[in-house]
Homo-oligomer: 283 residues x 4
């Protein structure tokens, strides 16, 4: 059963749920799932509605046109997508393979509601892995001396994949602000710490040094502020005094790959909305 997904974010006004559900009913739409959230502090309302595609009496484009009139009246930021239209996923990695291998395997097993269109890296190491899974691989080296030119080349390569979502699977390079803006809300990163702890480099070393009893990973949208974007998902794993930074790194890899996959899944299924620097996750 295929569905359309309507995501709405707007100032709270009286009768919103009734207005929207009435509109859908006029087009004979059958609501399969609906989530609502009122942010009381900001008086802002958020909705996610799944409508059976077949129940709608007109084309998606016509339905979209009609809805846009209503949306304008209510000052909505909104998005209406067809779940059958798979999103194009670009994976960006560096040398570490755990997250990339996990995502490629999920793609291969049709676990993702999306199509992995490429792997882009600043190193060769992931090339063989990508080719195993019949996924295009591009390498764009980034060197300290020619960073600006390299980054420009990288961004052009990214554009050439025409991605709907970019997954930083331990890419290890800071994304240029220009790209953060162009793909705003479309770049997902996995940070190898329980943010806001250990922002920046070498989080496992610093976790070991601080003697924490749980380490974690954080999946978040990328913004121009490093490791400060809206958090999508987090998880932790228990460690103890016998675990070195190296042990933590290994244990953390499992948390990283699961947490990234979970965050990406939410994005692919249009379950994420943002409000200021926070996410609403309609899971």
């Amino acid at each position: 059963m295929s569905v359309y997904r309507l995501l709405i974010s707007c100032p709270d006004t009286h009768g919103l749920v009734a207005i929207v559900s009435q509109f859908i009913l006029e087009y004979n739409g059958n609501i399969k799932e609906a989530h609502h959230h009122l942010d009381e502090q900001n008086k802002h309302f958020f909705m996610r509605i799944e409508i059976e595609s077949n129940s709608i009496t007109c084309s998606l484009d016509d339905f979209r046109d009609a809805f846009s009139v209503l949306a304008d009246q209510c000052n909505m930021v909104w998005q209406l997508s067809d779940a059958a239209q798979l999103k194009r996923i670009l994976i960006m990695g560096s040398k570490a393979s755990h997250c990339v291998a996990d995502l490629l395997h999920r793609g291969h097993e049709n676990e993702l509601e999306g199509e992995i269109v490429g792997v882009l890296s600043n190193h060769d190491r992931l090339s063989k892995l990508a080719s195993w899974y019949d996924v295009a691989f591009k390498k764009v080296s980034i060197s300290q001396d020619t960073k600006e030119a390299d980054m420009n080349k990288m961004m052009k390569t990214v554009d050439s994949f025409n991605p709907d979502v970019i997954v930083l699977a331990r890419y290890m390079q800071i994304i240029p602000e220009e790209m953060c803006v162009e793909y705003s809300g479309k770049i997902i990163n996995i940070h190898h710490s329980f943010l806001p702890s250990f922002v920046g480099a070498n989080p496992y070393e610093r976790a070991a040094e601080r003697g924490v009893k749980l380490i974690g990973a954080t999946c978040h949208y990328v913004t121009a502020n490093l490791d400060e974007g809206p958090i999508i998902e987090q998880d932790v794993v228990r460690v103890d005094h016998a675990d070195s930074a190296e042990d933590m790194k290994k244990m953390g890899q499992d948390v990283e790959k699961i947490t990234l996959a979970k965050g990406l899944k939410y994005h692919l299924e249009d379950r994420l909305l943002t409000c200021n620097n926070k996410t609403i996750v309609f899971s």
Copy 2:
């Protein structure tokens, strides 16, 4: 801000969300929070809607009367309650005090959306604890020889408290079927295992014997089938080979009290619906 809470369970039909939200809008009701769930297997729809009490233009009784007409048309099982009307909680315990003490403390600190009206036990041990918290205590002994008479006395005592919800906080006696029926959907139990593992007596001993690596607790509604009622909440804690059954019992007590408190909270806030032998938790 006080709210009315509308809980609906009905066969899935076209336009349900629109119909209900339209109805609420007619009475000027402002929806603060709404949850929907379609059980696709059973083609059954579930809703929980929080409406700002002040926004409704008539009395709760009139609103209820009006809604009942709509409810009949859609074959709804439903409930409309005023959150300001605190539920009457009766705690039933035996000798163990961890769950009872935890609930009494939460009641005392106004953490519960309800009023603890009494503690009923088959032993004296909890009497002092209840009196500390200024909660009525009743003892009804249950002896093997006079069980039927004792149980009848117990049930009369329960009725005398006129409870909206009964919490079995490690009561350790099997509840008569008659009482299960009378208070159907209103008796909450905490079982000291991760159900369906270790149904029945001595779950910690059996967990230790089986060598499990996690032990748990299960909060569920009580039905005539022992430990088989709809599960509300579960949680676990890690154990290892060095933990004896006695250690597990102690560690498990923390899981029991937290899990019971969470399950009770869902019930008090009208977040629970049942479908066959399962719960829908709109948390």
Copy 3:
């Protein structure tokens, strides 16, 4: 079965385990449990050994005297205690009661390997709770204007309890450096965040603002550096976009009380050693 507990921390040298276990055997001691840890980075060795008290052929004092000779040879920092000798626990709280009530109840149920000798607070609110549990209560107000004098009075009151361990159960005041030094390794605090995230005041508000998906609590030894002492235990609980700072505070209270109780238990059972700013937990 009563036990002596030997805690050792010393530079790593060849044959340490053999030397110590040989020594114990000479006194006919039966080892019930033994933990070892080599910190490879610092070349430092840590041991915890439980010896059946009855098996030792001399008095504890004689055994201690004999061991001190060996300890000096190996440059050991060590401690030999009799588990039957209960530690004196002083609880310090402010207004919030969840941790204090939980600890008092555990004390009352003989769950703690220690004796709660008093509750000290800068407010009256916990007085009734302490008296319920027949535990001495002392109030020492702390006001901004007379802070130094108040703190001196507080410290004298602490001393008057002659505590073996001081539990800051949400005390909310910064402990004077002088007291941190006097009771070094004997003051346990519960911080209401997953350290090192949200050091300092109002962690739940800041967690809500940052939009984290897990909140936590950290039990740690108190040092002169606020919230920077060695971490003993941490735990987390899942939150989502619908949870306000106020909700998080309530949910966090359960994590706080369980985590504090666990950390205190480790301390009371002599399971904790420190190395630089980290703890070794022989659980």
Copy 4:
């Protein structure tokens, strides 16, 4: 730094730790890590000692011969292995690829202390995956009609790999008793439920039907009693009313692969001992 690992299981007697550590010291052995556990119920003692290989003054064989004399005196069941000697791992799978792919990737990244020598399946589906990772693949079909002959062929194929450990990565066939005996303590299975819940087939369907709030996976040694062998590791993940059996199956796959990898790691690092039907995990 390479190590020898000594695993000991024997009746508890006086001075065991001293005797063993004294013996190691006589051969100049440096103990890097040591774990002890006394099973009080069974009066049985368990030890795991890591000794720096270089510190021992004779060959491993001579050390082993010498130790065997001591071991006989104390009625020890014991094992002394060289960590540098990688264990040969045989993976057995069926159609599902999540666990197999995860293990192969870990092998490829040198995360496992062992060498994956082959993948054996009753279907073709995993063949390509194995060949990607340059691991030998063998298919032995199992059909209902010729089961006995097929199983014999399978067992011969297993033997041909000369495995030190066999990992059932969702193999889905019941292992013949004969093979359970031959490879006793060397076959590791992942069961897709939180045992002892949902022993046998279709655990996710049954979990969904029962309405549990957590699902899990169990890594255990295989014995002739289906799903009844000693549990090595377990973990769980939270589900809710909106998750179908199909959703649970997908969510459970992540728990399965992580839990299996963790259990295998313990085995490869000689961290597991068994006592009756339970494991001691010296992690």
